[in-house]
């Protein structure tokens, strides 16, 4: 867990990509869940942030 946070601070690829992946997954779940409308409404923003983050952070050093 500490390795994860130091990785984040040092702008390492692994943990940031993981974070972006989680955001994309969260966005997709929010888009398709049947429970609350506001989650559906904000899903696109979450997915977009995750995707952009993924593109940027995949260029971080290993």
């Amino acid at each position: 867990m500490t390795a994860f946070f130091t990785g984040l601070i040092r702008l390492r690829r692994g943990p940031w990509e993981m974070l972006a992946t989680l955001l994309i997954a969260l966005g997709v779940i929010m888009l398709m869940q049947p429970f609350v409308l506001w989650a559906f409404t904000w899903s696109f923003v979450v997915t977009l942030v995750g995707t952009v983050m993924f593109i940027i952070t995949s260029h971080f050093p290993e």
Partner: protein, 309 residues
């Protein structure tokens, strides 16, 4: 080494390197150009249209810039939300069933019984066929009374074959599309799982055997973790494919009855090419684009992970 190498040598090398570089660009450029023209240019156009109220059936009408209005309307529209839930139902069940069937089949085929290659090839056939044509002939099987599917179900369960219509009933239609998709694509998951199973070297099992680990334990501590990256790949790919599913379902049910099988792409087609709300549907298309792009980047990451094996 002394400085006696003729001066022509580095120059010649440079020319050769240069020509390599120009060949590289010459070879890659047509592909990139084609993709820019047929994919990226239209994509940028879609993004631009998504901020307007353009209608493709009235190209001469004045186009108004509406900002984020289209996005706001889509993302607060209960009908679109319903469409996404229909897609989710389809997605979750098809993936669950295909993983279950696909993995089981792969595990059985990996017992290496005689003639397994032949049967594997036969099982794989449905996934290569045209989804639209498949969807079309499955409507024939789903006919009440005369359909093969109804007949087989009634043969085994005793239910009257004309008492239910798979694609006409609100409760059964979502399952009708799941059944056909599972029939078609379980072999896909099977093939990838089989590759995963075959990538496990025998000596790991031999070592476990020496440690007296039970078969059950071996399955959960060796087989499953080793196949998991492959399974992830299959799940992601099927997820992306079924998220944008169109041809099969449009031919099977056309989105009906009501909107019980109206997946995202079918809804989008209706908005864009029947109601001609081009601006509005462009915004919806952008939302689907971004989602698929996000999933695709995870997919490529999974792909590279498997590649290293």
């Amino acid at each position: 080494m002394t400085d006696t190498i003729p001066a022509s040598r580095p120059i010649r090398r440079r020319i050769r390197a240069l020509s390599d570089r120009s060949i590289a660009w010459l070879f890659v450029a047509p592909t990139i150009f084609l993709l820019l023209a047929v994919n990226i240019f239209p994509l940028i156009w879609t993004i631009r249209l998504s901020f307007t109220d353009f209608r493709a059936n009235r190209p001469n009408r004045e186009v108004e810039w509406v900002g984020l209005e289209n996005y706001r309307r889509i993302l607060t529209d209960p009908d679109i939300w319903n469409t996404m839930q229909v897609t989710a139902h389809f997605l979750v069940w098809t993936i669950a069933l295909q993983v279950l069937i696909g993995f089981t089949l792969a595990w059985l085929i990996n017992r290496k019984f005689r003639g397994n290659d032949l049967w594997t090839t036969l099982i794989v056939l449905p996934m290569m066929l045209s989804p639209a044509v498949v969807g079309n002939f499955w409507t024939f099987f789903y006919q009440p009374q005369i359909g093969l599917f109804n007949y087989v179900v009634s043969f085994f369960s005793g239910v009257d074959p004309s008492s239910f219509t798979m694609i006409g009933s609100v409760t059964l239609a979502p399952w009708a599309i799941i059944i056909v998709d599972t029939w078609m694509w379980s072999p896909f998951v099977m093939l990838i799982c089989l590759a995963g199973l075959r990538s496990i070297p025998d000596y790991i099992y031999e070592a476990a055997e020496i440690d007296r680990a039970s078969k059950w334990r071996q399955f959960w501590t060796i087989t499953v973790p080793m196949v998991l990256p492959f399974l992830m790949l299959a799940v992601l790919f099927r997820g992306i494919e079924n998220f944008k599913m169109f041809d099969l379902v449009v031919q099977l049910t056309g989105g009906g009855p009501g909107s019980t099988t109206e997946l995202a792409s079918i809804n989008l087609k209706r908005e864009a090419f029947e109601k001609w709300r081009t601006g509005y549907s462009s915004a919806f298309a952008v939302i689907l684009f971004v989602t698929v792009f996000g999933l695709a980047s995870i997919y490529v990451k999974a792909l590279n992970k498997v590649k290293d094996r």
